[in-house]
């Protein structure tokens, strides 16, 4: 397992940085809801309450990442923390997309899952794979161009299954791309990607490595694609 650079202080700094945005949102939306002078209708209030729930859920996901970040400090402990088993990657992706669709719509985006093969069984831990996909899709939603689609795709490559998460947002510079590829084992901010500390990507990388997989990324004509390669399960599929 790749050891994180910077240690706990880097994780705390990254977490504090990333938590500021959703906590600020929660604070501001709460103020609006309590403010009778804004003249909001009941329908508008309800909409903001729903937004509050979504932002709270995102904040909790971030806190979960911080917790995972600490656990990832001790690779040995992590190796025993969960078991690998055959997991249906397609089902995990579809669950994540279903759960994050309301959140994406708040950002005027759609989520789409594409696969041209039958459900793929990968060697993974379902909960951990769920965290990996949630993190990548959440990241893509925040960086995607409004009105565009975040596309999640699954494809089989020989002994591996590749999960792609593509956004059409601001292109990562070649400098940042090289830096990320060389050093995914530490939280690191990206220029042009506001409010990010790289904590989520660091967690995704460590979790993917712990499942025997690998994380990669590439630039498209418009946007960025992150991909996770996982081992195909040898267990006979019933599909």
């Amino acid at each position: 397992m790749q050891q994180p650079l910077g240690g706990p202080s880097a994780i705390i700094a990254a977490a504090a940085h990333e938590l500021k945005t959703p906590l600020t949102l929660i604070s501001h939306i709460s103020q609006m809801l309590a403010d009778d002078e804004l003249g909001m209708t009941e329908r508008e209030r309800l909409r903001y309450v729903q937004r509050l729930q979504m932002v709270s859920a995102r904040t909790l996901r971030l806190v979960q990442h911080v917790t995972l970040g600490y656990r990832l400090e001790d690779a040995t402990q992590l190796a025993f923390a969960f078991a690998l088993e055959p997991v249906n990657a397609r089902e995990v992706c579809e669950t994540v997309l279903h759960e994050l669709t309301p959140y994406a719509r708040e950002y005027q985006q759609e989520l789409q899952f594409k696969t041209n093969v039958r459900p793929q069984l990968v060697l993974a831990n379902r909960d951990i794979l769920y965290d990996v996909v949630v993190n990548l899709v959440d990241n893509a939603i925040r960086h995607n161009t409004p009105g565009q689609v975040v596309e999640v795709a699954a494809a089989t490559h020989r002994e591996r299954v590749r999960l792609n998460v593509h956004d059409t947002g601001e292109n990562i510079s070649q400098h940042d791309l090289n830096r990320l590829r060389q050093n995914l084992g530490a939280p690191q901010p990206l220029s042009g990607h506001a409010g990010t500390s790289g904590l989520g990507l660091y967690v995704v990388n460590q979790l993917t490595l712990a499942m025997g997989g690998s994380l990669g990324l590439g630039r498209a004509r418009q946007g960025t694609t992150f991909f996770v390669d996982l081992l195909r399960s040898k267990q006979l599929s019933l599909w």
């Binding site: 500021k20 949102l25 804004l38 708040e106 409004p146 601001e170």
Partner: protein, 123 residues
């Protein structure tokens, strides 16, 4: 008249932008939202707002780049800017040459503070 002033809100988080819009409209101001620097420049091509409310950490070109562009146009450089950000690496004296009149800490912002800052920037 101050109360009819138009405020350009440059904020890449739509929820926050909507919040500031509601607060400012309740204060009697008209508002325009731009969720990135390029859209802000497109708006500025069409009309001159009375104040620009600017988040510094934007996706793509950031607030500092937008401030630089604004300062390079004589008509835009006169527009007072209120910076509102979670990350404030520069203090007001350093931002003042870029037309920034007031710096607000987004994490402790309230409707009253925002409206008071815009009112002050308009003076």
């Amino acid at each position: 008249m101050v109360k009819s002033a138009t405020i350009l809100i440059v904020e890449d988080d739509l929820l926050l932008a909507e919040c500031y819009e509601r607060w400012l409209q309740a204060g009697g101001y008209r508002t325009i939202i731009a969720t990135n620097a390029q859209t802000a420049l497109d708006v500025l091509d069409e009309q001159l707002p009375s104040v620009i409310l600017l988040d510094m950490l934007l996706h793509g070109a950031n607030g500092m780049q937008l401030l630089n562009t604004i300062q390079s146009h004589a008509d835009l450089a006169k527009i007072p800017v209120v910076v509102c950000s979670n990350a404030l690496p520069k203090h007001l004296p350093e931002l003042a040459p870029y037309g920034v009149r007031i710096v607000l800490d987004k994490t402790v912002l309230t409707r009253e503070k925002l409206v008071a800052a815009v009112r002050e920037a308009l003076l």
